[in-house]
Amino acid sequence: MKFTYNWLKEFVELKLTPEKLAEKLTMAGLEVKSLQAKDGDFILEIEITSNRPDWLSVVGIAREVAAITGKRLKIPKLVNGPQSMAHGSKARGKTGGLSTVDYRRVSIKIEDIKDCPLYTAKIIRDVLVRPSPEWLKKRLELIGCRSINNVVDITNYIMFTYGEPLHAFDLDKLNTERIVIRRARKGEKISNIDQVERILNEDILVIADEQKPVAIAGVMGGKDTEVDERTRSILLEAAIFDPVVIRRGRRLIGMQSESSYRFERGVDFDTASGSSLLATQLILELAQGSLVSTAESGTRHPELLKIELNPQEANRVLGIQAKKAEIKKMLEHLGFFVQDKRSGLLTVRVPLFRQDVKKEVDLIEEVARIYGYENIPTTVALITPRVGFNQNRELVGIIKNTLVGLNLNEAITYSLISRNLLFGFSDENLVKILNPLSQEQEILRPALLPGLLKVVSHNLNQKQLPVNIFEIAKGFSSGVKTPKEELLLSICLCGIEARFSSQGQIKDRPGLLHLKGILSQVLRRLGISNYSFKLNNNECADLYVQGQLLGRLFKLSQEALDKFDIKNTDVFTANLFLDKVFNLADLSKNIVPLPKYPAIVRDLSIVVKSDLAVDKIIQEIEKSAGDLFREVKVIDYYQGKQIPCGFRGITLSCLYRSDARTLTEEDISALHTAIVNILQDKFQAGLR
């Protein structure tokens, strides 16, 4: 909403500088977006919240300024009642023009009073349509409204000043005695004053003559009945339309106007009829003409809403101590009618222009605004502590910190993606968006991997390597009544990692074992120990805990990488269902007492066939090693020179301990030899 300083000054005693005014308005809830000096005036632009249509007018803002500054308002009393102007004007019969309309007999038919609670028409004839006087032109142009002619400009000027959108029809072009406010019929057409032809339907409210629509109610007039320099007689419309109908209609035809903007926020009875009179007065003054008749149809003038306000309640909710008399005065300044009751309550009657005030709490907000938010003290609430915390959130935190400690970077990617980025998901399991802005947002992603691959691709293009990233977020799949939301973890490893050691740089190419290592650390941190990785093929393995599939790790196929334009590099990924992981997580700790006696460690270097899984060797050792044996670990493996082709060297470390005494070499050499023998027998393992 734009207005000017001088314009406002006409309606309220104003002693503030424009800058000070802007600050006061902002702090009262009328946020000033810009203040600009121009042509000896100042243009202010205010962001008006949707609950305050009364602020979409200069007098509405003047009322607010009066309330904050305690200064006098200079708003003319809007006289209520249609006859006041009509008598005294010379109502004549038929015109001498081409029209066959008897202007005195113009009548209004409202098909549904809910769509249009009030419609007034003023018939003015013998107008001289000319350019507007300079003051009017300037006023409109300063706020960015193009001057058309005196009649149209007056309707706009009154709208910006009082808030009621008006429309003037050329009555001779309208050529009807009956104005009908009705829903459009399906397929009806209208050409509007913006030169666009629109096809209408039953959701759109129109103003019509006997045959066809002449305006889209509350949105825009028709071209055929536009006022121009040849216009001699006008019908001046001032009405109230149902905000929801106007909103729906203007959305359907995809346009918005100053008029629809106000109607969908709500205009009131008094403003509508008062503006009609003020506009008529101005037209008679600037375009001559005479008021011939007035027609009006609609509901009766509504009763004012009465609300009881307990000043104690206001003080209690706000944390202030304002006196009853103070509160009464604040509300009166804002235009409320307040009665002081002996009960200690205030009875407040709400003026029609404050349709947003419906409850006591709405009045409390008015008290807060005028009291000044800045004057309300700052207190610290006592919070009654509640035991209980969000376990899953805790676990997500542990996982993220573990991954970051393992040199993975957290990424956050969009939940809405294009279906083209997916591979291996059936269409009926996807959750689709009804109204995406683009194809990029057409589905809710079932997996995180596509998002991460886009990140890999982006970073490769930027020559950023290696790309080790993860994301924790929800995946979506279709469900019965609502889609399923599952918390997922996805990790991507791509590119050779170079690290320093005391020997210089070590280069390392990622693979499934890296993912295994990362996931093992994560699981260990969550207190999950009985997990196992099962290899599906050389490029894919599954993670199981207690027979439950928790996730999969794999190398991406070339086909998948092509989709993301990833070239000349391998990408390895791990994908986990975190909800399942969380069900198994156990953060409780049970300490195992430290051993009383030292252990003896014996290493064992063997050469076995390359395709013999180390798991098998370990299982065999655990099975047959006897009761002094405690654990066996792989501490090295090697393939290459010194090892024949098709074989590999593995070094295992076996730990022996007794809980009753210190072991000697002799205690275990036999045991260890036995293990060696078994491995030789079972797996044809050779000693190194």
């Binding site: 609430a381 993220k400 040199n407 990424a411």
Partner: protein
């Protein structure tokens, strides 16, 4: 060779060791898996029965003597290294350690905000991202056909009846209040969605934190107090704050909260539009209609609620001028946090 001559040989050879490389060779020769000591040990079973015990002891003595000689020699070797400059440590070389990754800046800011509120006794609750129209709008006193909905353009789901992607975290207010009786002090972090055209300050997905507190006698002044603790915690003790009246359908009275511009210190810059103030969040006293909708008596309880965009807070805090950077995940960006 008998043990004594081995011992003599060892003593001589140790003296001649001059580098760590020679030391390794020496160790390998005597202590390696097929070294001389191992040979001696494995020869024990071949000795006549009566000699085995004493021979074994001698081997053990030799072994411990060897270890003592080695550790003594190593001490002189390492001190000799630094004196002789054979392998000086160059402290300018890269340190050797496991590198660390980074949490996403949105996560970091979100955690920071949650931690401030958790220290004040708030509990973290999360909600689903797919919501009902009721929880997202009607329950929060937002009429379905009203201009106040313009700020909440929404993605709807195909094939479901009136399900949508939440356009704010406020539906969790409705969920939490329906499920639990006051007193409540809850914060809700999460993703939200709005069909906005993408530019430097708008995206169709972003993050919010919602907070609310409900009890008997919660006041607007308490809202001011709690938010002051928060804003000073995030942006520093020196910032100024102001509360401006505003309109939100689910709070009454409502307020927008500004902080003094942290970039120009209110001298005027492009970020604050030369106004000296930066809007950081919306807030207010929970509307009585919301209490009615969730089944609490508005005559008994009052409460406040607030909500903020994490991206906005992060952008202000770190001086980021394009919201899209958060979701591009360029490693050069991520590694700066």
């Amino acid at each position: 060779m008998d043990i004594d001559s081995i011992k003599t040989q060892i003593e001589q050879e140790v003296q001649n060791i001059a580098s760590s490389g020679q030391m390794s060779e020496f160790k390998f020769k005597y202590l390696g898996r097929k070294g001389i000591i191992a040979e001696l040990t494995s020869s024990i079973p071949n000795k006549p029965k009566e000699e085995r015990a004493s021979f074994g002891q001698e081997v053990n003595r030799l072994k411990s003597k060897l270890n003592i000689l080695i550790s003594e020699k190593e001490k002189t070797l390492s001190s000799g290294l630094s004196q002789g400059g054979l392998a000086v440590v160059d402290i300018g070389m890269p340190g050797i350690a496991q590198e660390l990754g980074q949490l996403h800046p949105i996560t970091q800011v979100m955690e920071e905000i949650c931690n401030i509120f958790m220290r004040m006794g708030f509990q973290v609750v999360e909600g689903p991202e797919v919501e009902t129209e009721y929880n997202n709008f009607t329950g929060l006193n937002i009429p379905l056909e009203h201009p106040s909905r313009d700020a909440f353009d929404t993605f709807y789901l195909k094939d479901y009846d009136r399900l949508l992607l939440r356009s704010h975290t406020s539906p969790v207010q409705v969920r939490a209040m329906k499920e639990h009786k006051p007193p409540l002090a809850i914060i809700v972090p999460g993703r939200v969605y709005r069909p906005d055209a993408v530019d430097a300050s708008h995206l169709f997905m972003f993050h919010q934190i919602e907070g609310f507190m409900v009890d008997r006698g919660v006041r607007f002044s308490d809202l001011k107090g709690i938010l002051e603790v928060f804003a000073k915690g995030i942006f520093g003790r020196d910032i100024k704050m102001r509360f401006r009246p505003h309109f939100f359908p689910f709070t009454e009275p409502s307020a927008e909260v500004d902080i003094s511009c942290i970039i120009c210190k209110q001298k005027g810059c492009s970020v604050c539009g030369r106004k000296g103030w930066l809007e950081i969040l919306g807030s207010g006293m929970i509307h009585p209609n919301v209490f009615k909708n969730v089944g609490h008596d508005p005559a008994k309880y009052t409460g406040f609620a607030f909500g903020m965009g994490i991206e906005r807070i992060a952008m202000l805090k770190y001086g980021i001028d394009d919201i899209r950077l958060f979701f591009e995940n360029d490693l050069r960006f991520l590694k700066q946090f």
